[in-house]
Symmetry: C2
Subunit: 347 residues, 2 copies
């Protein structure tokens, strides 16, 4: 809970539209040879190798719905907005290449605030080797809205959909689950404490891991590169934005299959478990429905198990079954319970 | 000024996120062979011919800034949002192929309202042979925000930038100017009248042309096809969203040139002129700074003049000069006055 003190405040109106575009443009260095023309014309020009397909994904983040600037630094927000888009391309087994950024923001935001947001956006662009090639910046009557579209590429034969899992395939998940959700609960608690008494200091010591997972998630591009090295093509894949349960339901419904996953196989970091205990949450609920971990959930054929079994970043959590058997969790005490998807409930 | 009465109102929350996605998805038919995978996975999959480049553009429209639902039917808004993006691709001399649509909307919008918006979006998709292949729908604390990203293609040698006009090139504009701005002034006047006295009937008889130009603009894809037939490649091009003056300044500054244009050459429809007189506006201001006409402003080399001179849809309005001579308008009475760009002044 700290309010950033800017050395100065420059009103956006002072720069004007073209001044603002030039200001942003001056910070951008294109890294990919495929980005032939970036910001500054009616459209960006991009080359795509004949051997590759274009992947295209988009999302929108709205202040008050997806983020709260009381505990989200603008640079982290910018970074996260890019990382989540890169993650969508990774979930197709592709490599992100370009983004466009649309911003709508009210006049409570200064040029310095926009700079901080773009610092995060451009830091993520550098980390993921993605080029910012276009966008639109406009006023909003209230709050901040960010919409990012990402392009990526992958050879046709390596593209992995949600709909192509096969019965008997092994279900895998990268990293660990629930931390981003637990981090969010902590941040919300600290905000409440601060709102009630602004002299209170935040109690976030030793909470770097879960808070970091919420504020600055990582797209698992490393796993896409590893698949390539190991010559492994998953049979289906999705990234975990809404929560493991919801994403598993997508793979099952689109592949017309069921699944069995095992609670004792779900990966949980000790630091997440500690905070779960402190906050009196349910660890299985955090792992199944928490969301925003941006790990990859994927299936592999049994013959490919050897290629992943020794990877500490990959957990095998279950297997695909006939549709009629449903989508189920085998709990720690051996009960089999059906899993239900949630999706957002914003409205 | 009429309020649409819906037969029924279904809350978005009743469908839920996945229900809403399926509801939208069920309306979509993909038309382009290049749209290999549409809505429903982490990213769309698109094929690009080896002989072509990808063009990518994006923009955002915010309720209360870019449109007023008091006089904008949602279907027209959806149509316009697509047309303006198709226009950006046309301004590169390219053909739009796919769009993604991000929507943020408050709970005052029902499923029926979203349907009306998508009816317009999909009508434009059909008119321009563009496929809706992805998107994101989310809640907003206030109002409606639409962000569309468009892909297009063009062979490398046919792509036209803003920066490549040459001294002596002829400046051309398609269609006529100022109508969309004049239409907006009319709609605003009618809204004021209605707000002051809701029993008043709107005075929009015989105003179809200017109102239509504001509410349902046309992307000049026909001109792009005509360039192709005539084997004409403009030396520079931009579409008119902010107004002729502003767009001409972009071509001049990016081409490092000046320009002379002639007021008596600027194309004005008689129906626009009539309304300009009624509203006591300045016709040159409407044509130069009105904006939202989505006509194409382009330059051609003098040897290509023959290819366009008999086209009633194209007016030649001036020529490019050295940078030092500035960007000037020769007025009806023969004075030469410098032109200044505006851009938006939302903040």
């Amino acid at each position: 809970m700290q309010k950033k003190e800017f050395m100065q405040r420059t009103e956006i109106g002072k720069l004007g539209e073209f001044g603002l575009i030039n200001h942003i443009k001056s910070k951008i260095k294109l890294q990919n040879a495929s980005s032939e023309l970036g910001i500054g014309d009616d459209a960006a020009v991009i080359s795509i190798d004949a051997s590759e397909k274009l992947l295209l994904s988009t999302d929108m983040m709205v202040e008050g719905i997806h983020f709260d600037l009381a505990y989200t630094p603008l640079s982290h927000l910018g970074y996260k907005a890019v990382a989540t888009n890169v993650s969508d391309i990774a979930a197709m087994n592709g490599i992100a290449k370009q983004i466009t950024v649309c911003l709508a923001l009210s006049n409570r935001f200064s040029v310095e605030a926009i700079d901080e947001l773009y610092d995060g956006i451009l830091a993520a662009c550098e980390a993921y080797k993605v080029d910012l090639v276009g966008g639109d910046t406009t006023a909003s009557p209230k709050g901040l809205i960010i919409s990012i579209t990402v392009t990526g590429v992958a050879p046709s034969e390596k593209i992995v959909k949600r709909s192509t899992a096969k019965k008997g395939d092994i279900i895998c998940v990268t990293g660990d689950l629930g931390a981003a959700y637990v981090g969010l609960q902590l941040l919300r608690r600290e905000k409440e404490v601060y709102m009630a008494d602004p002299t209170m200091q935040p109690q976030l010591t030793d909470k770097d891991y879960v808070v970091g997972r919420q504020l600055k998630p990582t797209a698992r591009l490393d796993i896409v590169h590893e698949f390539d090295e190991k010559k492994l093509i998953p049979t289906s894949m999705i990234d975990i934005s809404d929560g493991l349960a919801s994403e598993l339901m997508h793979i099952c419904s689109q592949s017309q299959l069921g699944a069995h996953i095992f609670e004792d196989k779900l990966p949980l970091d000790n630091r997440t478990l500690e905070t779960i205990s402190e906050l009196n949450l349910s660890s299985s609920a955090c792992m199944l429905n928490g969301g925003e971990d941006y790990e990859l959930l994927f299936t592999v054929s049994q013959v490919d198990y050897e290629k992943i079994k020794n990877n500490p970043e990959i957990s095998t959590i279950g297997y695909m079954v006939e549709k009629e058997k449903g989508v189920n969790l085998v709990t720690l005490n051996g009960n089999t319970v059906p899993i239900e998807a949630q999706g957002w409930v914003h409205f």
